[in-house]
Amino acid sequence: MNSFDYVRPATVREAVAAATAPGAAYLAAGTNLLDLMKGGVARPSRLVDIGRIPDLDRIETLPDGALRIGALVRNADLVRDCAFARRFPSVAEALLSGASAQLRNAATVGGNLLQRTRCPYFYDVASACNKRSPGSGCDAIGGENRLHAVLGWSEACIATHPSDFCVPLVALDAVVEVEGEAGRREIPLEAFHRLPEGRPERESVLDPGEMIVAVRLPGEAARFAAHSRYLKVRERTSYAFAVVSATASLRMEGGRIAEARVALGGVAMKPWRAREAEPILADARAEAGLFRLAAEAALSQARPSGDNGFKIELARRVVERALALAAAGTPARMPALPASPLASISGDVFHG
């Protein structure tokens, strides 16, 4: 690990001032950043520890019904917030399917959005990686790439964004509140992460020094609560990143779907909102044939970036199953294995 200056600002304003300098990085829990620093992948010259800034760890319901989640709220605290889990159960399920209990006790909401890819070539400083070292090339292309992107990738980078949390958030139109030298602004989560194109080192639309202060879920998103699921295929039962994941949120009226939201994880360098699938599902009867059509639309632009063609059909099937699970209803209790593809579709339902 390189050496660094350590500063602990008391306010967001001080933090932004300290982090605008070149080479500075924000430190929240550090569960991803310290790992990257140990491997020499990240080498910040200054760490701006935002952990003591007051009020960033609050969860509050706003007058318009939106849930505002402070950037420093720990994953585990968010999941244990009853108002949150009841209104946005797919987000809770996604959070609980990610990492381990120890990591969820530390890792923060802002850090989750800004976590780096788990591409092994990004982590290996002896490999060429345009994200870590712009212009050096991409050893993932033509390398071990069965887990890499099938949507939105470029010849410069085929990495994926590893977040589970972001997948239902993007489906439910979450908004990111950020503060920088120019003041505060809001960015829809769907527009927050950048696809690699020719500049894979630029992963979000944040300006230098800008920090996330909160993530907001609109009140309207709670209307999907009775039919919202997250489903995640992993290479082991627990404590693994997604090979492919999907969320489905339905607003049901009788046996018909009035409105649908679908998003995918593990397929691109951003949480992937499957907007092509949503109109197919709207005002239609919830049945297997429809789910297949929606899944095909969701992956219509997909193409392999290497030995990962299997992920395209896998993703279609994960979308289909997520839709079937959502149509069956949100479980009354969080499943023992959240987001597990091993669970059956039947079971106790929430209030669907």
């Binding site: 310290l34 140990k38 209990a101 006790n105 023992a336 959240p338």
Partner: protein, 165 residues
């Protein structure tokens, strides 16, 4: 650069001079305070051997920067027994052979203590396994670990009920 901090470790407040801001909580415990019961396995947050209770919650001490936790309260494996009396989770690990080589065991026990405090698994072994999935055991003692956690939870629950009564 010297950084002054305090840490309450197993109930004792310690004043600490860090000579390097890069020091993790794990390295501070092991090398600074000679509390070597907390193990360094992967040092990357993947194995759980370094689990301690920080501010009442289980975390990976290898991914915590020590200076960032100035003033915090930490409980390590050295702090869970009362004199010669083992903690009920320690007793249960012995009773159920929840270990072979023992390297992951202090992390397993600290994680189990955290899990039981969280109180979300009930007596469902599947929920216990899921809740303990951040602790790897290369000897594969998982069955004994799950049984030990379930039994310890029962013992601790009974003790709580007795206190209330």
């Amino acid at each position: 650069m010297s950084l002054s901090m305090t840490l309450t470790v197993n109930g004792v407040k310690r004043a600490i001079e860090l000579d390097d801001p890069r020091t993790t909580l794990l390295d501070l415990l092991r090398e600074g305070l000679q509390l070597t019961g907390t193990k360094k396995g992967c040092d990357r947050g993947q194995c759980g051997a370094c689990t301690v209770i920080l501010q009442g919650r289980r975390i990976n001490s290898c991914l915590a920067l020590a200076i960032s936790h100035d003033g915090a309260d930490v409980v390590t494996i050295e702090g869970v027994a009362q004199g010669d009396r083992l903690h009920p989770v320690q007793e249960a690990f012995l009773a159920h052979d929840g270990l072979q080589c023992g390297f992951c065991t202090s992390g397993q026990i600290m994680s189990a203590i955290g899990l039981i405090q969280e109180g979300e698994t009930g007596d469902d072994p599947e929920r216990v396994r899921e809740g303990m999935s951040g602790n790897l055991c290369r000897c594969g003692a998982y069955r004994g670990i799950t049984e030990a956690v379930l039994q310890a939870q029962e013992v601790l629950g009974a003790a709580d009920r007795k206190e209330v009564a």
